[in-house]
């Protein structure tokens, strides 16, 4: 390879130019894709909200509730139809998954029952824990479904731990984590409801 002579000056100039052009190119691409990336994220979120709630017209202002560990936040999206509150979409999470963090969008209606959910992010084992996105809303098997159920009247634990929900076969840890995330969503929903009724009573 007949490159330039490897003296100090040539090396410094070359590296400077290479990194300078690279930085310029990246800055340009970043500016160019910034909006599309933000849009794609927002779209994924609103699609998830539409999936987990029955039909609604518009979303109200988003609330953020601090999780009990003080670090993470749970987002609550109230949904309205004809100015009537029809339910909340709650973006909840758990760190207890088989591979750690799981993020779930859960829908809760006015009476506190779950209307649907959508797993947004997870690293669970493909073919085992990853089944959770279908498992807990299987209408043919009501024992494992969480749809239409309420943590007040139903024990949100896997049957193995004495609860009322059938966990995923061979994925008890994922199932526990999933139910933990839903209970966390429900607690956030309850807090929100308490605030609402409190202000209405004044």
């Amino acid at each position: 390879m007949a490159g330039r002579e490897s003296n100090f000056r040539n090396m410094v100039i070359t590296l400077f130019l290479v990194t300078f052009v690279a930085a310029g190119a990246l800055g340009l691409v970043y500016e160019f894709t910034k909006e599309a990336i933000a849009e794609a994220k927002l779209k994924a979120q609103s699609e998830a909200i539409e999936k987990v709630l029955p039909s609604f017209e518009e979303l109200g202002e988003t609330f953020k509730v601090a999780a009990e560990n003080g670090e993470d936040t749970i987002e609550i999206f109230p949904a309205y139809q004809d100015d009537q509150l029809v339910g909340y979409a709650v973006k909840t999470f758990t760190n207890q998954g088989y591979s750690g963090y799981i993020s779930i969008m859960a829908g809760i209606d006015n009476s506190g029952n779950f209307t649907g959910y959508e797993v947004l992010e997870h690293d669970e084992t493909p073919g085992l824990g990853s089944k959770m996105n279908e498992w807990f809303r299987n209408e043919e098997k009501p024992a494992q479904s969480v749809i239409g159920k309420n943590p007040e009247s139903t024990e949100f634990e896997v049957t193995k731990d004495g609860g009322d929900i059938d966990g995923i076969t061979a994925s008890t840890i994922t199932s526990r984590a999933f139910l933990e995330a839903l209970k966390r969503a429900y607690r956030a929903y309850e807090e929100q409801e308490d605030l609402n009724t409190g202000s209405a009573g004044q």
Binding site: M1, G3, N10, A22, A25, Y30, I37, G127
Partner: protein, 194 residues
């Protein structure tokens, strides 16, 4: 050099996965389905071709002693461009591949071609080499991903082929990747012998 030979060598004779055994981390990591393999293969192909082009153009301007850092910067730039573009325009593919895209930077296939081929050959040969090796890599990943998906989840390109009750889950998990790869390498070696 015969350009057609230069192009086709990446499929069997110098296939980066089955023969050179380079880039094993993304190979084993992403191939749980055919579509993931295809996405990863095409992303790598883009980076390969672009970095081969740039390296073969500026090879004369780069002092020998700093060529590796220069190549790495060039490759990393293209990888980041792919990552940003994929996140913006193919968010669902990004969701399943996101973790592995930055790893293309340290994929020895890309640096290997820049160092061993593009820095010694002219522009046209380097482009052809980039496409050849890139498509060879994609072909290997799709084959591996397709077999694992078919055996492990009963689907091919996300279309159900047979019911999930009969699948062998092992194949979508990590050990399945090694098993399938081992058999494929054995088959390729047999074909090469003839």
């Amino acid at each position: 050099m015969n350009q057609w030979k230069n192009f086709t060598k990446g499929f069997i004779k110098e296939n980066p996965v089955f023969v050179l055994l380079l880039g094993m981390c993304p190979t084993l990591g992403v191939t749980s389905s055919a579509i993931n393999g295809l996405g990863m293969g095409l992303a790598t192909t883009f980076v390969l071709v672009m970095s081969n082009i740039v390296v073969s153009i500026i090879k004369k301007q780069i002092p020998d002693k700093v060529r590796i850092p220069s190549f790495i910067v060039i490759i990393a730039t293209f990888v980041t461009i792919v990552e940003l573009a994929m996140e913006a325009y193919l968010p669902s593919l990004f969701k399943s591949l996101g973790l592995f895209i930055p790893l293309i930077v340290v994929n020895c296939i890309v640096l290997g071609r820049a160092e061993a081929f593009a820095s010694k050959n002219n522009l046209v040969s380097s482009v052809v080499d980039g496409f050849g090796i890139g498509f060879g890599f994609s072909f290997a990943l799709v084959l591996l991903g397709g077999i694992r998906e078919l055996l492990g989840s009963g689907k091919l390109f996300s279309i159900t082929v047979y019911p999930e009750d009969y699948v062998t889950l092992l194949f979508v998990l990590a050990p399945g990747a090694f098993i399938v790869l081992g058999y494929l390498i054995a088959i390729i070696n047999r074909i090469k012998k003839d």
